[in-house]
């Protein structure tokens, strides 16, 4: 290897904190996100320990409420939403489309600083004494009754929201304007399509959250109560505004995961994704239709029956493109030449877990059943199947897949497969019992519970300890590989895609000469063979 790559370009620490290189910013995000994932994970661990028995044993009710709120806020806003877009997306998008950087490199760095600032403010709120409103921040509890640090935490989320908006804006412009010559829309990898769809949501939904949080803070701090029932304000208006953002936010979390899985399945089945155009448009359809369904969080809230019917109907419609994707992934495996490297194991786990999450989503879209199941553990299990089973699994898959490209080192394959399998079992053991709990009627956010629910809670807590170990494993062997892993070639998996045509790790401006594209994506009939080191 001759010449410098982006990692060795400049060794000074200061060069990292002033960098505008999308690859370095991706690494900065990655480090920050691991930190938040760890904090959110500690909160989850404490929650599961407390719930191992029906009584209050480990923490007080107030502490428990702060724990699940912290878990929710940290995991949603400071891990899941930025996870794939800001780390893998930031790193891979310009490489995949043959660009030298994102359209606005300085904005990209600013976005990271905003994220760190927002995260610090939120952590400050937590260390001051926490916040006990649940991540949903429902009024009037959050505005008139909570005695915790709501305003501080909300300020942190507000700031982090602008980081999201800037990232989405950056991706949209980059994908429109910085594609390599010949790289038409239908030649784009599906990861790009899904990140484009994600960015649309980031840009159009996040501002509504921002203004909602402003209204909430104004009511709490200045008594300017736009949701205050005492002067005729309607608490349900808050819920509408909140879910206008927070439902599409679920698609911010899952779409990039789907995008990663497309890449993995194509690469390890060595085939073009079946129904490429359908999958591509399904991403955009999910992003657009995802804005039409938010009221399904409010079937029992007191919104009008008409609204509930419309939102339920829309929710079933939005499930169609997701179903299309799952069928297409399965069909892609047909007559493939399937290899079971660790990233593929994650991708297969994703399909299974996401399908369970999606199908139980249909349960909840179904009005009469939702009346029973909403705000029970059924919902908790459902969204963890989507967000953790889906998104986090895809994140790990993508991380392993692109690890050689990012670091220039190969990870230890056997350890990686073991971790993937352990995560799959640990996850199911943790969250499947929660479906049962929900079906039996155990409400969520309960610090103590009726004894008949204990058996499933014990199983879930047991699974959580397996899952915790499984999530820690990659941290160790990936760190090990940084120093002792074999040097990665430019294209270890024999994958298509421009990112594999430059060296591992890539040079500072990604490509030594401008790549030109003249064919379809996923042309695995003509791809090089995988070369394992």
């Amino acid at each position: 290897m001759t010449g410098k790559n982006y990692l060795t370009d400049d060794y000074r620490l200061g060069s990292w904190f002033t960098t505008t290189d999308h690859k370095r910013i991706a690494i900065l995000y990655f480090a920050t996100l691991i930190f938040f994932f760890f904090i959110g994970g500690v909160a989850a661990t404490l929650i599961r320990i407390e719930l191992a028995t029906p009584g209050p044993d480990v923490v007080s009710a107030d502490t428990y409420n702060r724990l699940f709120t912290m878990h929710g806020i940290i995991m949603v806003w400071f891990f899941l939403i930025p996870s794939i877009p800001n780390t893998l997306g930031n790193f891979i998008v310009p490489l995949m489309i043959g660009a030298r950087d994102l359209a606005f490199p300085r904005l990209n760095l600013a976005s990271w600083y905003l994220f760190v600032l927002g995260g610090s403010v939120t952590l400050f709120a937590i260390f001051m004494g926490g916040i006990d409103t649940g991540w949903t921040l429902y009024t009037p509890f959050s505005t008139l009754y909570s005695n915790s640090y709501v305003s501080v935490a909300v300020t942190g989320i507000f700031i982090a929201g602008f980081s999201s908006i800037l990232t989405g804006l950056n991706f949209i412009v980059t994908i429109h304007k910085l594609r390599a010559p010949g790289l038409t829309w239908y030649r784009l990898p599906l990861f790009i399509w899904s990140l484009y769809a994600t960015s649309v949501i980031l840009v159009l939904a996040t501002p509504v959250l921002a203004i909602t949080l402003v209204l909430l803070t104004a009511e709490r701090l200045f008594g300017v109560g736009i949701f205050d029932p005492r002067i005729g304000g309607d608490p349900l208006l808050f819920q509408h505004l909140f879910w206008f953002y927070s439902h599409p936010a679920v698609y911010i979390m899952i779409l990039p995961g789907m995008g990663v899985v497309n890449e993995l399945i194509a690469c390890y089945a060595r085939k073009k994704i079946f129904g490429y155009k359908f999958v591509a448009w399904a991403s955009l359809a999910i992003a657009a239709a995802g804005f039409l369904v938010w009221g399904h969080h409010m079937f029992v809230s007191g919104q009008s029956l008409t609204a509930s019917l419309v939102f339920s109907f829309m929710s079933f419609i939005v499930a169609v493109p997701s179903a299309i994707k799952v069928f297409n992934w399965t069909a892609t495996l047909h007559k493939g030449k399937i290899r079971f490297d660790a990233p593929m194991l994650y991708a297969l786990a994703f399909i299974g877990l996401f399908t369970i999450g999606g199908l139980t989503g249909l349960f909840l879209a179904c009005l009469a059943f939702d009346v029973y199941a909403t705000d029970t553990y059924f919902v908790v299990a459902h969204f963890h199947y989507i967000m953790v089973g889906g998104m986090v699994t895809a994140y790990f898959g993508g991380l392993h897949y692109w690890w050689p490209k990012i670091t220039g080192r190969m990870y230890p394959e056997y350890w990686a497969r073991a971790a993937a399998i352990l995560i799959f079992f640990g996850f199911n053991l943790t969250f499947f019992p929660q479906f049962v709990l929900g079906a039996e009627g155990m409400p969520r956010r309960y610090h103590v519970y009726a004894p008949e629910f204990q058996i499933w809670n014990v199983l879930s807590s047991g699974g959580a300890s397996v899952l915790a170990i499984a999530y820690l494993l990659p941290m160790f062997y990936l760190a090990y590989s940084l120093f002792f892993g074999a040097r990665a070639p430019a294209n270890p998996w024999g994958a298509t895609g421009l990112e594999w045509q430059t060296s591992s790790p890539p040079p500072r401006l990604n490509f030594d000469r401008q790549p030109v594209v003249d064919g379809d994506p996923y042309d695995y009939a003509h791809a090089p063979e995988p070369q394992h080191v």
Binding site: R100, L169, V173, V203, P207, T212, I226, G232, G233, L237
Partner: protein, 214 residues
């Protein structure tokens, strides 16, 4: 060749830079629409809940100041659009003068807004700080004025930011370097300023016009 220094290393041509900037600003503006969108929804929800109070509250606002302010913003928007044309044709002094006028008009807008707030404070129409209305429509009026203050303050913040940006471009109007980059930047800044104007057009109709005919 003259503008090769004006282009960041990750971009290929100045045309690409201009397109990137403009598309970026339009994306940002779509974000801004939704930022105000949450407030607009609140407005309609409460107006629907208590139409009489919203008409009564609309009558409490100062339509003279509101109308003059609208005219100021429309004119400043015109000045900025003209400044961009002037810059494109190389009329640098005209650019600077027009941007200067736009900034003054923006400051005038803020000044009048301040006068208006003061009047509302004296009339006990500031929710959370000094609100003392009783009577049939008191709660509806309070909700209206909550919307009014949050929406106009948010808009005011945008005006302040816009004035800052215009001031930078006014200062650079007669500088000798990097013309194509300057014009691309000014076009982006102009888009933002027009958008601030556009938001105000709707706020004006929502805030000042209700209830005038009764």
């Amino acid at each position: 060749m003259s503008d090769s220094q004006d282009i960041a290393e990750h971009l290929a041509t100045s045309a690409q830079r201009d397109e990137v900037l403009e598309l970026g600003m339009w994306t940002f503006l779509s974000t801004e629409v939704l930022l105000f969108g949450g407030l607009i929804l609140s407005y309609f929800v409460y107006r629907h809940a208590d139409p009489q109070a919203f008409l009564a509250a609309g009558r409490e606002t100062r339509i003279v100041i509101g109308t003059v302010n609208t005219a100021l913003l429309l004119t400043s928007s015109f000045c900025v659009a003209a400044a961009l044309q002037a810059a494109e044709q190389g009329a640098r002094r005209a650019t600077r003068t027009l941007l200067g006028i736009a900034i003054l008009l923006g400051l005038g807008f803020l000044g009048l807004k301040g006068v208006e707030y003061l009047g509302e404070y004296r009339e006990h129409l500031v929710p959370g700080v000094n609100f003392a209305r009783t009577g049939q429509d008191a709660h509806g009026i309070e909700l209206f004025f909550i919307f009014y203050f949050i929406a106009t303050l948010l808009h005011g913040v945008h005006v302040v930011a816009g004035i800052g940006v215009l001031a930078v471009f006014a200062a650079m109007a007669t500088a000798t370097t990097a013309r194509s980059r300057y014009i691309a930047g000014l076009r982006t800044a102009a888009l933002y300023w027009h958008f601030v104007d556009l938001v105000w057009i709707f706020l004006f109709a929502l805030i000042y016009l209700p209830g005038r005919s009764s």
